[in-house]
């Protein structure tokens, strides 16, 4: 039996006909991991394609990273988030490979979005953890973020201090860490994204996303993959433009990694 989810398994993803912004990016292979209960995997693959790269579906139970150049752990509710978000997914065989590759000299770029971020903290690739939102409810809204570190593998295309708007949607999104860790993150400029215009969930220091020291592993609670396509993105954008679902501020996250890898 096929071990991988294939992109054509879903009737909803057709080939994207738009020409890629940069043809060289097409050769970059970005793996997107599916755990049982992952939800935004197809969306993350679509984002990679729209950014111009090649998306490679990866199945959690495999042990082969298929020579991908970068990995995305997408959002969702792996294993229902029943124990703690990301707690069970981190034991997947593929996670060992990803952890090794991320820590290797090659420094595989890894992006964890939402549940993927939670998997990264449970795996100790990133410090801290996520607890229930302050208001104890699932929250879905367009969220403004400030790019605090434009030097990571996933943020190179942004300007330092730039504001972007991407959808936020989660239940356990409150970032917590002990004071020493927080101080360290701040001192080392490892807070990559910060909530602006109101902290949606009580996260310490308004933290929306962080990076590891080398800048290859990034975790982000909001969903850049849902702000990549005009007509299906956020209602707002960081530049202040308003047009229904035309916000595509998240696209540069994916282009950043692809461009970094072509260098």
């Amino acid at each position: 039996m096929a071990q991988n989810l294939t992109a054509d398994q879903t009737p909803l993803i057709a080939d994207l006909s738009q020409p890629a912004p940069n043809a060289a990016l097409k050769d970059i292979r970005v793996g997107v991991v599916t755990f049982p209960g992952t939800l935004d995997d197809r969306d993350a693959m679509r984002a990679v394609q729209i950014a111009g790269g090649t998306a490679v579906p990866l199945w959690y139970a495999d042990e082969d990273l298929q020579n991908v150049d970068a990995v995305i752990l997408p959002g969702g509710f792996s294993y229902g988030d029943y124990l703690r978000a990301g707690a069970i997914a981190r034991f997947a065989p593929l996670m060992d490979k990803i952890i090794d590759a991320a820590n290797s000299d090659a420094a595989l770029p890894v992006l964890g979005i939402c549940n993927g971020f939670q998997v990264l903290t449970e795996s100790h690739l990133l410090p801290g953890s996520m607890i229930k939102n302050e208001q104890l409810k699932f929250l879905c809204r367009d969220q403004a973020l400030r790019i605090e570190n434009a030097d990571t593998a996933w943020t190179g295309r942004y300007e330092q201090g730039q504001t972007i708007v991407v959808p936020l949607k989660n239940q356990d999104g409150q970032y917590v860490a002990d004071q020493r860790t927080l101080d360290e993150l701040e001192a080392e400029n490892r807070v990559a994204f910060r909530y602006v215009g109101g902290n949606p969930n009580g996260s310490r220091n308004d933290i929306a996303g962080i990076t590891n020291a080398r800048g290859n592993v990034v975790g982000l609670m909001p969903h850049p993959e849902h702000a990549v396509e005009p007509g299906f993105g956020a209602d707002f954008s960081g530049s202040g433009d308003v047009d229904m679902r035309h916000g595509t501020d998240g696209l540069d996250i994916f282009v950043s990694a692809l461009e970094r890898l072509t260098r």
Binding site: Q3, L12, G37, L39, D40, R46, F77, G80, K137
Partner: protein, 765 residues
């Protein structure tokens, strides 16, 4: 478990012991129904057979009180309506052809009672159940919606229900990765003990992927997969205790079903993989009546019979009796028919997704459904008699005398209508209305739902319809709206049902979509009450006539009866879900204006129609006649809106419904936070009404649109050609930050938004 645990009531034993007392009454059968079972079988039923007949012949599964009326949905289908209908009423969900080889299936269902008992789980499993219906058609589910109705907003119990239901809908739908693209929230004391939790799911597939629930092909294997079977939904101490042989007390059976959305998400992906590799011949979800329903329907729809060994069913609770196994409503289960040569591949898919399964039987050519347990035959029936030939009742119905009195009690001139605001007072009136529980922003609810997942949501709340892209290459997609105004239906069930249909039709066309199909969820009180039965009969007649008039078929739905507490029924609430098609979802029309200087037009005319209105509700009045509905006009309006959207003549459109023009203008301004200057004098003169009436009357057939300057000529031409009333009532004013009704009042958007959005957080935190 020892083999002697149960006093197995076998078919042989039943034949030999005709006089055994059976708990048919406790199981909800009437004496004549029980006699009919005996007549069909030619003997008394076994305990297991009794369990099957009793659940399958229940109102919920057999539609015994409503069948005679629901027939009209089929009878009134014209050639035009049949054109795109691929699967109609009777299957798990109807299927509509939307072109390019794509098909869409959608259905709406109720989970009212369980959601009152345990709001979170009731709502969650409601979503889970309707999604399984969609999967069982062979489709990938792509969105959900949730029309909800609660008791009075300030009643002490409402908070419990609202919190639980909203968290449950979100908890389950969000975890499945299904965007929530719309619904309704209404508060009314009539729903205090009977909240309505309706759930809709929509799925898409290629034409060739349609699957049906039938068991064909002698020798094919029957498999049950997904969650294990527990005592869920059997309730209390089981009345099937008589099955139990030992003298230990029957174990507790949980009446409450607990949902496992993770299991269902895995089940969805697993089923889609089965479909993709064509591994199943027939498939059926397990919902109400569990295995009883799945086996009898599969067998009844197939060409032969079925033999099942109940001992093979994987159990969560090993103490279940065979009758209980047949009745259990454990969630997240599916049953499928697989050819022998595909068994191995089927098992590999199960292994990949870690889904438990057991082969429980096979398709036979006997025409009988035979169920074994521990080597003995405990069920031997003609499956049709269980699944399809249940009792049918022609319940008496009659228009209650009190209806005349109700209809004579008009708002205009009533004590509640003592003082009508005018001029500057209208500002406060608008703020009050927009802050009222039923017109306030539903953001507190909808922000708990994921509307982004899957990346195909082109429009969702707070716009008029949810819009989902189906084909990424062409932009082909669907729009959906669910609507009902139970107050209108209370005043006149025939007209009320048509008003619900008209509103859904208007919402979908306002979004720019061509109407294609209807699903409905008919929530009513007790069918044994002739007054209620009359409401039901009238509503079905109204809806079926209306669908014929508008040329859209009803493809499926659900009936929920006995929604009453202490003998008082809810307002009749026939929720209508309308599906429309957009050739390119990029053309959908948002409900708010954005561009400075665009002209604002009102389509349609306004009469003094305040009976049943939101204004009357805020004033505490319900009586009179609902607004007049003219479906011919609605059809013209809808057709114009679809064409205008396609040809780029309008940039924004929002229909006029509850709350009247006041609500429409307020919502359009708030959508993107852009103000407008409005002048109502001319229209008021044209229609012969005062400003108050123009703002708050709920006359039908109206929509407000924003027209780019360059399109005004074409726009007016189209209205003129179709002879549809239109009037220019204002202009978008981006600078002002206010809704300025000139010569009357002005309200800045800040204050309007504050009033509109504060209500739900105030009550619910």
């Amino acid at each position: 478990m020892s083999e002697t645990h149960f006093n197995l009531d076998t078919v042989e034993h039943a034949a030999a012991t005709p006089n055994t007392e059976l708990p048919w009454a406790e199981l909800g059968l009437t004496e004549s129904e029980f006699d009919r079972v005996k007549e069909i079988l030619g003997r008394r039923p076994t305990a297991a057979e009794l369990a099957m007949y009793s659940v399958m012949w229940s109102e919920h599964c057999s539609y015994k009180s409503t069948k005679v009326h629901l027939r009209q949905f089929g009878d009134k289908v014209t050639e035009e309506m049949r054109k795109d209908l691929m699967v109609g009423i009777g299957e798990n969900a109807g299927v509509t052809d939307i072109g390019d080889g794509w098909a869409v299936t959608f259905k709406i269902e109720s989970h009212n009672h369980p959601s009152f008992v345990e709001p979170y789980q009731g709502a969650a499993t409601g979503v889970g159940g309707i999604v399984r219906d969609i999967i069982s058609m062979g489709a990938r589910p792509v969105a959900v919606m949730d029309p909800l109705r609660f008791g009075a907003i300030d009643h002490p119990d409402t908070q419990r229900v609202v919190h639980g239901v909203v968290a449950g809908v979100g908890g389950y739908g969000n975890s499945l990765g299904l965007p929530n693209i719309g619904g309704e929230v209404e508060f009314d004391p009539c729903y205090q003990g009977n909240p309505l939790v309706n759930a809709l799911a929509v799925g898409v597939m290629r034409h060739e992927d349609i699957r049906l629930a039938n068991a064909s092909g002698t020798g094919n294997k029957v498999v049950l997969f997904g969650a294990r079977t527990g005592g869920d939904g059997i309730g209390g101490a089981s009345v099937l205790a008589s099955e139990s042989f030992d003298d230990s007390k029957p174990s507790k059976r949980p009446a409450v079903q607990v949902g496992d959305p993770f299991a269902e998400k895995v089940l969805i992906e697993c089923c889609l993989e089965l479909f993709k590799s064509s591994l199943v011949e027939g498939i059926q979800d397990l919902g109400a009546a569990g295995i009883s329903c799945a086996t009898s329907e599969l067998a009844s729809n197939g060409d032969g019979g079925m033999r099942v060994d109940l001992t093979k069913v994987l159990l969560r609770d090993p103490t279940l009796t065979p009758g209980e196994i047949l009745m259990s409503e454990s969630q997240e289960r599916m049953m499928a028919v697989v050819t022998p040569e595909k068994v191995e591949v089927f098992e590999a898919v199960m292994a990949k997704w870690d889904v438990e399964y057991s082969w429980i039987g096979e398709v036979t050519d006997t025409g009988r459904l035979i169920i074994d347990y521990q080597g003995e035959v405990i069920v031997d029936v003609d499956p049709r008699t269980v699944a399809h030939d249940g009792p049918v009742y022609e319940r008496p119905y009659a228009r209650p005398d009190s209806q005349d009195q109700l209809q004579a009690n008009h708002f205009t001139g009533s004590p509640e209508d003592a003082s009508r605001p005018s001029g500057a007072e209208l500002r406060q009136a608008v703020l009050e209305l927009m802050a009222s529980p039923n017109l306030c922003s539903k953001d507190w609810v909808t922000s708990q739902y994921d509307r982004y997942v899957q990346g195909n949501t082109a429009m969702a709340m707070p716009d008029d319809a949810g819009v989902i892209r189906v084909d990424q290459e062409t932009g082909l997609g669907v729009a959906l709206s669910t609507d009902c105004n139970g107050r209108y239906t209370r005043l006149d069930p025939y007209a009320g049902a048509q008003l619900a249909l008209a509103q859904a039709y208007r919402n979908v066309t306002t979004a720019g979509a061509r109407p294609a199909a209807v699903s409905d969820c008919l929530n009513f009180g007790s069918p044994e009450d002739p007054d209620i039965m009359w409401q039901f009969a009238e509503a079905v007649r109204g809806l079926s006539d209306g669908c014929q008039e508008l040329g859209v078929p009803v493809t499926g739905g659900n009936v929920s009866l006995y929604n009453q507490t202490g003998g008082v029924a809810i307002n009749p609430t026939p929720v209508v879900a309308l599906l429309g098609v957009l050739d390119d979802v990029a053309r959908r029309t948002p409900s708010g204006w954005r561009e400075d200087g665009q002209a604002i037009y009102l389509l349609g005319e306004t009469a003094d129609e305040l009976d049943g209105s939101e204004w009357a509700r805020v004033r505490g009045h319900l009586g009179g006649q609902p607004p007049a509905v003219d479906l011919k006009q609605e059809r013209i309006l809808g057709d114009m809106l679809v064409n205008m959207s396609r040809d780029g003549m309008i940039d924004a459109a929002h229909d006029v419904s509850e709350g009247g023009l006041a609500a429409t203008l307020s919502e359009m301004a708030l959508r993107f936070g852009v103000g407008a200057r409005i002048g109502l004098g001319e229209v008021a003169d044209r229609d012969g009404v005062d400003t108050f009436t123009l703002l708050f009357s709920e006359s039908q057939g109206r929509t407000v649109v924003a027209v780019p300057r360059s399109e005004e000529v074409r726009f007016k031409d189209m209205c003129t050609v179709r002879n549809y009333p239109f009037a220019r009532i204002g202009v978008v004013d981006a600078e002002s930050g206010a809704l300025d009704v000139q010569g009357e009042f002005s309200v800045d958007l800040e204050a309007l938004r504050e009033a509109h959005s504060a209500t739900l957080p105030k009550y619910f935190g």
